[in-house]
């Protein structure tokens, strides 16, 4: 076992962990988005409520196990990312007087710690608005009503949208970078992976953003 811990905690191993957990989290985003898009069906939240009840059911053992895994991996991804950032900062030592990194790398790739940190803060707020009260606590009403209430607050919606943009930044670099970290790089398919990463990031961002925007328009047009 010792060799394995040494392996996943080596400089290449730490990144391997980031890549694998990151890809898993990206898959989760896709599932989450699928569920959320049910909110756009104009049925008073019936489809969404059914979906969230199935996902929350204690008898749904597979989902319960994945849920625990998700929390653990999410946490590991965050902690490991911060560790990498600290170690990598130390490797530079003295900073450059004149530094022009935009000539050789993308902004997304250089700001993973920043986008990641804001996503983490968002996540804590997000879990407190939805997950904890409706799944673990005893919030009055359904999750659907909670969604409408939360998005009626423009400040909340604004922060939600900002976090989504940063999530897109994180994914634009993260998705393609994960494949490179796994050792998958070839002039035949790497251009595709890079393009796919961008499309994935935009779809996730636009998909989630459509929900607060939808509720905003609906409340403006007076319908409930």
């Amino acid at each position: 076992m010792g060799w394995f811990i040494k392996f996943i905690d080596s400089s290449l191993g730490k990144k391997l962990v980031m890549a694998l957990t990151g890809l898993f989290l990206a898959l989760f985003l896709l599932e989450h988005l699928g569920g959320n898009l049910l909110l756009l069906i104009n049925d008073g939240g019936e489809a969404f409520t059914t979906f969230s009840e199935v996902m929350a059911s204690p008898y749904n053992i597979i989902i319960r196990v994945i849920e625990y895994g998700l929390f653990i991996l999410m946490f590991y991804h965050a902690v490991n990312g911060v560790r990498l950032w600290f170690l990598n900062k130390r490797s530079r030592g003295q900073a450059y007087e004149s530094y022009n990194p935009s000539a050789n790398s993308t902004l997304f790739s250089r700001t993973m710690i920043l986008s990641g940190s804001i996503i983490f803060i968002f996540l804590v707020i997000h879990l407190r608005t939805f997950f904890f009260p409706y799944r673990l606590g005893d919030a009055p009403g359904s999750m659907y009503e909670g969604v409408i209430e939360a998005f009626s607050d423009p400040v909340y919606s604004g922060f939600y949208l900002l976090a989504l943009v940063l999530l897109a930044f994180h994914l634009i670099h993260g998705v393609q970078s994960a494949f490179q970290t796994l050792g998958l790089n070839h002039n035949k398919y790497t251009p595709f992976i890079k393009g796919f990463g961008i499309v994935f990031a935009v779809v996730i961002c636009a998909g989630f953003a459509s929900i607060p925007i939808y509720f905003l328009f609906r409340s403006m047009s007076g319908g409930m």
Binding site: S11, R92, S98, G183
Partner: protein, 253 residues
């Protein structure tokens, strides 16, 4: 003929490893656009010597882009504003009259400054040494083409073998990671039949030494490859990762 230029140089001066170092401004007057960057420094240094001052220490040897010793940070980028060249291959026509040029040594914890713009790159030597040997038969000269190898593999190996060890990858990387260098050195061997025998041991040992020297870990910003004077590709890094992952599961200890 383009006109000669007057430039301001903001140069890092540091007496030795212990000295804290500081920037100093120098005037480079009447610089011909056809001078190379190192020739321009030579002229400035002549003036300094005439005035009895200590000339700016800068590493150089071949001056034809193959030895890799002339690496310095120029206006925020390794080897200056162009891609795929070394400082000695950089010409003053790429600067303009009145410009201020900031010249700094590579900044990496694993590359301590020895004097002014010269850093100690022996960490690279130790990584290569850690890679060890390849097994070949000694004795009489082997027959030509005794070991079959495809042209593609040969070229692929040479792509990696082009690395001149200048350190621009480390200098450019926001993490001061040496992955492009290490992967080029490991890959050029693994891409040839002769180098395959010790592949696992080599990957493990070189990565271990890289970590020991204090280089950061690669976060795929690709700055290294963009700034590499030889244009070593990111696929070398991917290959080292595959080697390293496999080796960890294969080696029996």
């Amino acid at each position: 003929m383009a006109k000669n230029m007057n430039l301001k140089l903001k140069v890092w001066r540091q007496k030795n490893k212990e000295d804290k170092g500081r920037f100093q401004i120098y005037d480079a007057t009447n610089v011909s656009p056809d001078m190379s960057f190192l020739e321009m420094i030579d002229v400035v240094n002549e003036e300094l010597i005439k005035k009895g001052e200590d000339p700016i220490a800068i590493d150089h040897d071949c001056r034809e882009g193959i030895c890799g010793s002339c690496g310095v940070y120029i206006n925020g980028r390794p080897h200056g504003p162009l891609r795929e060249i070394t400082t000695c291959q950089l010409y003053m026509r790429h600067f303009h009259d009145g410009q201020t040029i900031v010249i700094e040594p590579w900044r990496a914890a694993a590359f301590p400054v020895i004097k002014d713009l010269i850093v100690d790159r022996s960490a690279f030597d130790r990584i290569i040494a850690a890679g060890g040997f390849i097994s070949v038969n000694t004795g009489g000269a082997p027959d030509a083409n005794a070991i079959p190898i495809t042209k593609d593999d040969q070229e692929w190996s040479l792509d990696a073998a082009e690395c001149i060890g200048c350190g621009a990858c480390v200098a450019a990387c926001k993490n001061a990671s040496a992955m492009l260098f290490v992967s080029a050195k490991a890959s050029h061997l693994v891409r040839l039949p002769q180098g395959k025998i010790e592949r696992e041991r080599r990957a493990l040992a070189m990565v271990a030494q890289m970590e020991k020297e204090g280089f950061g870990s690669c976060t795929n910003t690709e700055a290294c490859s963009a700034e590499c004077p030889k244009g070593i590709s990111m696929d070398a890094i991917a290959q080292l990762r595959r080697e390293y992952f496999k080796a960890n599961f294969k080696v029996r200890k």
